[in-house]
């Protein structure tokens, strides 16, 4: 993405348990041949310092009540908490109201690249990049307060 012009950058923080989306609309100042949307967020998983005994109990109680799950060992519980539970954020882009791509892969740094000939998997090549770009950040699950994210739109 070197040599591409940054035409928009924004960041923010999400609070625990936020569900919903935040959309950013960029009125492109000219016709571009290439577009790259970079999204980063973190942390994705719990760290030991995040998990109090009260939170552990809350998670255990929920999984038992909702799914009938009860870990068979402390190791299994640790694995579930630190590896299987996750903050999950998707990104979707539209151009002039038409869907041009969505990224479901849970990468903490991801790109959505578009040109007339190619595009990142999950995205659709665009013959003409002009008009109104809308990027939507979709927060499915946020485990922790102060989960940070940055969105950068670059073009050439």
């Amino acid at each position: 993405m070197e040599d591409m012009k940054t035409i928009y950058q924004v960041g923010g923080t999400l609070c625990r348990d936020f569900t919903g989306q935040i959309s950013y609309t960029v009125c492109l100042d000219q016709t571009y041949r290439e577009l790259d949307i970079e999204f980063t967020f973190g942390p994705r998983h719990f760290s030991p310092g995040d998990v109090s005994e009260a939170l552990k109990k809350e998670l255990l109680d929920y999984c038992k009540k909702e799914y009938g799950l009860a870990p068979s060992s402390p190791e299994e519980l640790e694995h579930a908490i630190y590896h299987e539970m996750k903050t999950e954020i998707h990104t979707i882009a539209t151009l002039n109201g038409t869907f041009i791509g969505g990224i479901h892969r849970q990468l903490e740094t991801r790109h959505m690249y578009f040109s007339p000939e190619e595009a990142t998997e999950g995205c659709i090549p665009q013959p003409c990049i002009e008009g109104v770009l809308r990027v939507t950040v979709l927060a499915f699950s946020v485990l922790l307060d102060n989960t940070a994210y940055t969105l950068t739109v670059r073009a050439r």
């Binding site: 999984c63 539970m85 791509g101 979709l138």
Partner: protein, 302 residues
Amino acid sequence: MYKRLELHNHTTESDASFNCRELIDFFLADGVDGFALTDHNTISGNPKMRRIIEENHLPIEFIPGMEYTTYYGHILCLNLTEYVPWEDINRHKPELLFRAASAKGALTGIAHPYSFGWPFAKGCRFEMEMTDYSCCDFIEIFNNLEPLHQVNEPALRLWENLVFSGHCLAATCGMDLHGSTPLAGHYGTYIEGEKGGDIARELEHAIKNMRTWVSRGALLLADPEDGAIRFAVQQTGKPGYTPHPEQYRIALRTAAGQGECSPGDVIAVSEFAPGTVLIPELFENDTALENLICVAPPIRLR
């Protein structure tokens, strides 16, 4: 002929390990007749699949689709030709999204309604308040890799109860394939069709008329005629399934309970009240869920 379909699959266009060509080759190697691409919240793979199949004259049929992966549940869309925005979904009015996709010609269904959701994967469990099932075409009663009793059994019972109460909902199943998991031993969805027939139309007819079979390899045929229900079992040759016809048992499930019989029995329609909905299910050995071989299309008695 009966077409074996795999209706729930992902590629690297969303979060799986197969790319489009690899997924096609995987299904060709197992003798699948047709498959749907249901990547999470993207349709980018649909034109790639069509191009690969057409350019290489591959003997497999393709159903474009997507899995609407929302905060409150996953909705499978089949025969989907364009993206329908879902982001403004209201968990109290999911019918709006179902209808929006249907208006574009798609068949819509609830995927793995009882999967585990938050804090593992929020949205995997269907938590929407569905009050009007007329906008929904099918329910995925077996998501093959999910736990049988915790996830798939309640999905099967949900579908049965909705059908018993008069809803027209087809049953489907899927691998929810994200990689090279063997298909042997798992359920596939079967529909009636013609060799070289239009798979989109055949699928629509099957779904809209509840003419789907969910089976590990043997199809239970049960049609009422002349006041009696007679049965037949057709083998499909699905790899990994070894038939044991001598062990077959049939459960006839109704809202009132379950009766059992053998494939050679003839059941008088008069045994049931007019309007009764029957769901015939084929088992081996006994009718424990672990031994379920096939869920046949429901029969609505006149």
